[in-house]
Symmetry: D2
Subunit: 369 residues, 4 copies
């Protein structure tokens, strides 16, 4: 299966299935000299971890990241980082009832058509568990960005009908609720809604927003490697995402030019924009304002209701998915959105370092003997 | 500037600025044996061409595609296709008034920051004129897809507040109006709206929808090379796009699992889906239903009103953009969306050909001596 | 460190240092349906394994390959294969005497200059131990090629002054001696020579030849992705290789056209060549004859003699490298050359599958519904 | 045909056939700010140009390079450079006698097998004329390298049996003879030899050597993106090359460790090597010494003698190639070797700029606001 890598200079390659012995990621292009220990991964893996609340699966995943290469005496060496997370309960036989039946909303059918058979154990490579590896890579990207003065922050913007307007976002409240929603009272409403979903054997969708602060002007390129194009790919590469927006997003369709344009002004001697309808990216390049992006997630496809489907032999079947499943994907995906954003922004940063002959010359003078 | 290529096996590399001598594209990975002449490009270039109505710029662009390589005796040879379009009036000096001022909504400021200076002649590489090359490449992709039974169709779904619901789409009406809107009466309303925009020195946004029919099951890969991830990148790589959706798009955020899941059924002996909320892609792979995607375009940033901005020396400036500019980008971008979609789907098709050992063995037996 | 991947459709990414906890490789693009078990790796790892004779280091490396992903119920699934080999004795402190001194012939000095510091434990990422991961990937490539009727065979052509002429090559004798030399009596002479090297605290170089049989005509592309260009890169990417030849190699420089051209003839109704001066590749594409290539390896740089060098502070130093080191790299590199060749040929095979519109159409008709 | 691009950050894509309307190259990743005019290309194209002496074809090729994009007001803008060379006499019908017959030593047969047909006009894409585009790209690379203090110099080391030993190389004599051989008297002997080749309807091979001076330490990466691996690929990608060596090359096979190792020493306060057996590259990275590489070229396959071959219908044929052909490829290929070397070294330079966290931080502080 072609396609387990993303990025150019900072390039990650993930591997692993939901019920194999382990999952992991190899990161090529990590600059030498970054302090890194296994403890750095713990808080991020905890954010993705299930079993934290009744809205996430009970499966116990320790999700300890092992560093297998690329670090020596506490710092990255410039060689590829290999990070691995062992699967704890991968021998379970919970999935036998779906081995020959295609679950609606999952990739069972088209996976089978493409590869000739499938790993029916919980989705295999198509499982959300694959994102464990992305989060691990995101930790490294965020640490590097942090050294460069760039921070990435993702949070839940909406669960089902409960949607936060910009003025309702209070980032300091994000981590105080299991939904990672930056508004405690809206989170309470969403929790009530999710409890009702569970009772009615339903699942809910939602929206994650991500912002990047401290972005220098000029990241991204004007044509295919536009920063928004790569962010769009990065977010659509997360399972269950069906829509992505930058800045004003779909609202631009019914806006008008004089409203949508961000006027330039001088503030403290620097060029800045009066507004940020662009979401920090104009013409494919960062424009100095914070980057704002959103991804819409579909409801968890695994629901406890009986559904119509067919089996591998082409017979109609009624399928009831058993076991515990998250009624909503969003809270655990927040850190995944953050990771993919960080990876993409860092890669764009690196590619910018060769944009001018001036840069190449300064590099020789200062560094290359 | 890194980033003028997209695609893996079917890979296009565009070049050219709005006011240079020419623009073009090199397509690597064109299979041998496709009949191709310069006449094939004419209807597509006409769809993108300005000057067709009062809603598009008056600039005369003949936009004749020259085939410089890759075709011999009327068929592609398997070598790279080099396609070129000459710029007709590239010596114009219309842009002198903006040479040292940053136009709001354009990439002037961040381009300058990144590269140290900019081509102030109409946006240079960041101009929408760059899409000429994409349309030329799209023609080749669409012709190949057509041989494979796959068709790509784009149209205007919305202009400003005028939005078509699915039941209002009548594809046979698409080409009867200058907006490429598949509903004649809605197009009339949108035209009235655009006329008002012109009078008030404003511009409008809109939405383009694209559908792909005849798609086999299994195109795309489960992780980063998801078909929707690559389509997302392809559409976000078009200037002015601020949002992309697949299938139900952002509406999935407030849907519930039992509604959003597409049940499988048997129809005429084949597996099919009862509904298509997924927009034809599940888990990153085509699922056999038509692919449905949408892109939101911001209003044309060049408006005839006076705007606040700054110049290259950091002084506040009032800027009034002169010359004729489209009040809306959408109609001319329809064929661009179609082109980028076709290029992406074809590339995914090609990468699928090595997915199984069976395929490799059959290839040796049948073709490779 | 950018650059731990090679290949396009069949793409390997290696990771790991000589003295880290493990080394490994992720292989993306493995077709689904290949039977594969951990036992498949044993004979290949044994060929690369040290401690087999007095000419290879005594370090005990079990080199058991673990399959961490990509195989389900005994067959590849199409998802990335993750293969890992644990390092057994990676906590050794044998290298303290060289921690701040640059070993002649090794990459210590330039590694330090580039990355700001180095992993002094046996070369770290620059160690020959990195090839363990390549051999594991080569096993997979060779198994797939075998299903396609293609076999890859490498052997020692020369050790120091002991060089085999074509008529002296007896492949059936290759595995009967620790040098993998296909001529028992020449191997005896080379062994005597190596024993003398050890006594005199010297090391020896040599040449490995590799042949590929059953190659279909047309693998490789006419410009940069020439099959010989990619084979050249693959072989030069093996540490210690200083020269690569295809077919007649450097001898073509003093040949003449009528001798060097391979005439075409008809044999059993098929086009074939009367001779194979080309080494099976003409104009970058396989020409139907066996592929013949050779790589020259320099003498092991770690020798027991005192050598002049400098330390990290710029002081002149006398360095005597202790510990056991192979007096020649060649025998253990034979399987590495074979692996890199197999990976490259398979990748070229895959890219050929999209060369003609006929192929795309036949694929749709037969496989894609 | 996949494979018309090479390079990562500095990436060239060539297109065009020997008898199409034009050939060209798109260069992506050119840093902004490099002064460039069409006159810069003239001396390099002249070196590649035929018709300069009786040893090169009489075909008149003006080979004027047109800059179609990427330059504004005399400097590169950072956008892709599109360079084009028109073919002057591409309507000639000289090749009709070989349209259905496979020329020995050329790619006619395997091209036909792969693509289903071929462009019989002088080799089409497989013609040496494709290198025109490479030379144009090399000019840009060499100009950038020159700004960085790096120079690339190629020359003829051998023609047939006439081979220069290192002490016989006098670079100042290179351009005084039509063979670009840095030794006037050896050039005279080689000229006499070539005259004899012409009389006897034969052709000759030879060796080109290339050296790179001013190379900083640390270009290239330790695994697959080794600088020598990429140089190997670049040189093998030139048609007719059958062998490539770095430094001592194949002679290392019969050297011994104490001779082959380059001892480090301090000279003028800098680390340097006492010798340069490595050819300036150790462990895949530049080691501070000049880079020395050699490529062996086979004799021109087009010879005036009658040769045995077969036609497309599988009949034995006698073929006598008419028209004027160079009796040796080497002199015109000297500038091609120089170009491919420059492109490769520049690309390695660029990738080195992200090797350390220090570099990323310094870049932000100095350049990125």
């Amino acid at each position: 299966m072609y396609g387990s890598s993303i990025g150019n200079q900072f390039r990650i390659t993930t591997w692993g299935e939901s019920h194999g012995p382990a999952l992991g990621v190899v990161i090529d292009g990590v600059p030498a000299g970054l302090p890194l220990t296994e403890a750095d991964f713990v808080p991020y893996m905890a954010r993705r971890k299930p079993g934290q609340s009744k809205f996430t699966t009970a499966r116990q995943e320790a999700d300890t990241v092992e560093i297998l290469s690329g670090v020596f005496e506490g710092k990255t060496t410039g060689t590829p980082l290999s990070l691995m997370v062992r699967n704890q309960d991968h021998h379970s036989a919970d999935y036998s009832n779906i081995a020959d039946t295609f679950r609606p909303g999952h990739a069972d059918y088209n996976f089978t058509q493409k590869y000739g058979f499938r790993d029916y154990r919980g989705g295999g490579r198509s499982s959300g568990r694959e994102t464990t590896a992305r989060v691990a890579a995101g930790v490294v990207a965020e640490k590097i960005l942090s050294e460069l003065g760039i921070t990435v922050t993702a949070y839940t913007l909406a669960i089902g009908p409960y949607y936060l307007d910009p003025e309702e976002i209070h980032l300091e409240e994000t981590c105080d609720n299991p939904l990672y929603m930056p508004n405690a009272s809206m989170a309470d409403k969403a929790i009530t809604y999710l409890e009702e979903c569970i009772r009615s054997k339903e699942s809910a969708g939602g929206i994650i927003e991500c912002r990047v602060d401290g972005v220098p002007t000029g990241l991204g390129d004007p044509v295919f490697e536009k920063l928004d194009a790569n962010l769009g790919k990065a977010l659509f590469s997360i399972g269950a995402v069906k829509g992505v927006e930058i800045g004003d997003g779909f609202n631009v369709a019914h806006s008008i030019g004089s409203e949508n344009n961000d006027a330039y002004m001088i503030s403290d001697g620097h060029v800045t924009k009066e507004t940020n309808h662009s979401g920090g990216i104009t013409g494919g390049m960062s424009d100095g304002s914070p980057i704002i992006l959103r991804a819409a997630f579909k409801p968890t496809p695994s629901i406890a209701q009986e559904q119509d489907t067919v089996d591998a032999d082409g017979n109609p079947r009624k399928l009831t998915i058993t076991g515990r499943h998250d009624p909503v994907i969003v809270p655990r995906a927040v850190v995944v959105v953050e990771a993919m954003t960080a990876i993409t922004v860092l890669d764009a940063y690196m590619s910018t370092m060769t944009a001018r002959l001036d840069y190449l010359k300064a590099f020789r003078e200062k560094w290359m003997k």
